[in-house]
Symmetry: C2
Subunit: 116 residues, 2 copies
């Protein structure tokens, strides 16, 4: 890094961020890395998200091949969300964000100085 690119379309960073470049999307991926997850679990984990925004993000992630939706109960119908191989490959991105946050974005509950 940095590597070369000519336009946003030829830059893998820009193309990736077109798919995953918002906070909620990456937090959904974070939660799904733990395994199959239901809508209600995501609502609880993603403090402050609205059901409409979560629905939209999940649909977009499904359309982009990052997650799959499966029905685990039929009466009433209940869905569970799983990452695809493409989605699981984002674990390296989430891991890098996690590591950066541990060093450079300390919790406001912690002492202000970042850990070395």
């Amino acid at each position: 890094m940095p590597r070369s690119y000519e336009t946003q379309q030829t830059c893998p960073v820009a193309r990736s961020l077109g798919l995953i470049g918002d906070r909620w999307t990456l937090l959904v991926v974070r939660d799904l890395l733990r395994g199959g997850t239901r809508f209600a679990d995501l609502m609880q984990s993603l403090e402050g998200i609205s059901p409409n925004v979560l629905s939209t993000r999940l649909k977009t992630l499904e359309d982009d091949g990052i997650l799959e939706r499966s029905i685990y109960e039929h009466h009433p119908p209940r869905a569970e969300y799983h990452l695809t191989e493409k989605g699981r490959a984002l674990s390296s991105v989430i891991g890098a964000i996690y590591d950066w946050g541990e060093q450079w974005a300390p919790s406001t509950d912690e002492v202000a100085a970042p850990s070395a």
Copy 2:
């Protein structure tokens, strides 16, 4: 991954995304990883961003200690933006996004199959 967290505030991923969790912010960091960059260069690189949005993102990144602004010409005043150590540490995040994009978000100019 996945690692444990109790709330968004105790999760380093969520805390990080509070600082860098939008597409433009990470594209600004991508550009600044190449070295000091002027506002006009960023405007040209970040196709489609408005000057107001770019100004706001730069100010926020400066307030969060991710970049520094320096004046390189006084008449008229012209500023250049540099990453701090905290900002340069994001190279691992940008690198992970780059690698994921190369494999999973092929350019629409390329053949549809992702490279292995």
